[in-house]
């Protein structure tokens, strides 16, 4: 589904603009990711609760952190496979044009970091409920909120609030990567969001125990 969507947007953007660039496609990939991540993450813990296999995981010699990281890296592997699948789009790009390799690379770095942060958030919400649909809806709402929170900048006169909304925006940080900027601030932001969500996830499992 993701690869089909990405392929469609890639072709659409190339033929529309005539530019040998991935910038527009990355933007579309980001939005596609926000809608697909909840579907990937919703099962991570909710399915364990509803199948009653969580009891097994908690009784096995595993710490909450091991359970959380095991599931997270499994989900990240899926994200990486999805990302690798989009590399096929680069073949015609390099055959018929001369794209900036560093910009393409930074776009992919941003895409993976964005996906990792979104997965961590989705995994946390999956741990809170045994209903997968509820987990997916909460995750989608929160991720869309983080994506569009940057638009609130336009309505703020306070510098602090403008900066805060800008800093919290998944989309604005991702835009930097698409432009070819790998900023420490953006990398740190995605990693910190992921770390906070995973810590909350492990703490919740410990608290449940």
């Amino acid at each position: 589904m993701f690869l089909l969507g990405t392929g469609y947007f890639f072709l659409y953007n190339i033929f529309l603009t005539g530019d040998a660039t991935m910038a527009e496609t990355f933007q579309n990939m980001g939005v596609l990711l926000l809608t697909l991540i909840p579907v990937v993450s919703m099962r991570l813990f909710s399915a364990e609760y509803s199948a009653r296999t969580m009891e097994l995981l908690l009784a096995l010699p595993l710490t909450p952190w091991q359970i959380v990281l095991g599931k997270y890296f499994g989900a990240v592997t899926m994200l990486l496979l999805m990302t690798v699948g989009t590399l096929i789009d680069l073949v015609p790009l390099y055959l018929f044009g001369t794209p900036e390799t560093t910009t393409v690379l930074s776009g992919y770095v941003g895409f993976v970091l964005l996906g990792m942060a979104c997965l961590a958030v989705g995994q946390f919400f999956s741990a809170l409920t045994q209903n997968q649909i509820v987990a997916a809806l909460i995750t989608a709402s929160v991720l869309l909120g983080f994506w569009f929170v940057g638009h609130l900048q336009n309505f703020q006169t306070s510098y602090v609030l403008r900066s805060l909304f800008g800093y919290l925006s998944f989309a604005l940080h991702f835009a930097d990567f698409i432009r070819g900027l790998v900023r420490t601030e953006a990398v740190t932001f995605y990693l910190v969001v992921g770390a906070i969500a995973l810590t909350l996830n492990a703490s919740y499992l410990q608290w449940r125990r």
Partner: protein
Amino acid sequence: MSSSPAVIVLESVSKRYGSKAIIHDLSFTVGKGEIVGFLGPNGAGKTTTMRMIAGVTAATFGRVTVAGYDMATQNADAARQIGYLPEHPPLYDTLDVSAYLRFVAKVKGVRRAAIPVELERVTVACRLEAVYRHEVYKLSRGYRQRLGLAQALLGKPEVLLLDEPTAGLDPGQIQETREVIRSFGADHAVLLSTHILSEATLICRRVAIINHGRLLAIDSPSGLERAVEQTNRVTLQVTAPAQALREALLSVEGVSSLEIHASPGDHAVLTVDCQVDARDGVEALIARAVASRWDLHRLERQQPTLENIFLKYVKEAPSRGRRRERHAGRLSEGVIDLLPLADRLLRGRGVPLGDGLFLSVQHFLDR
């Protein structure tokens, strides 16, 4: 108390969910080479206790130790020594049987080289050869239960916790499963929760009876029988005058009390229920005292069964009394004195004094 070294130790363990207490001050041990049956009605706290020992949930108060590891601080180390079969076997439907067992073996820390041997051992022990390559979702309930047992046996744990292990099995499978448990229990500690009292009698060295989260008794089945031996009864049917029969029976050594009823259909024949002590030969003394003077039609001694013992303990558990104490604990002494009166008044009006109503009375009296 078991004579063998204790592998499972519960010391004053309590469990609360919010303000609701599920387990109260539970203490017992299970020794190596011992199978202990865990009996109790639904909602007694058996599964919660099992989950605390398995490390799935933590005790609110008290200490749970398994194979020397404190479950509060060394949960992961202790888990290597525990095989746990929950009430609902925790199976991944999308895996096949071999992949599922391989996954559990890996997580339990079984050495990679030893995994095939270990898988074969549990597959044979639980008779899973016929479905070894089948997807889990295709398995019957009996096979699912046996697969759950197989994952618990992986890694040769010191402790086996089995929550209703024979539920859903046919009689043949029940027999086989009991054999597996019995053989495993020879040199491991096994705690087995069950509703089937005969199962506890057959395979357990000791039986723990729990109700409302409290341990009511723990002893060998024969020890429990001795503990309630005053419930031994002798029932006889005699054609005799009631008063003379009563005097004759009460003069027999070992007869503590009796009740005489007219037999249905023939009022000349009396049915007598005698409470006797546990000594052998009491029924012979009764037979001699009665048969020499009157017509004795039937005489039967009823030994206490585990079922009777279980019912006796469960029925006698002072659940309502405890609830009253708990509510009364919030009241002043003067109000507590009034509670029996309120109880009598409400009963007199045909109103059962349930928990909710009791709280209303409490609020009324507080006011």
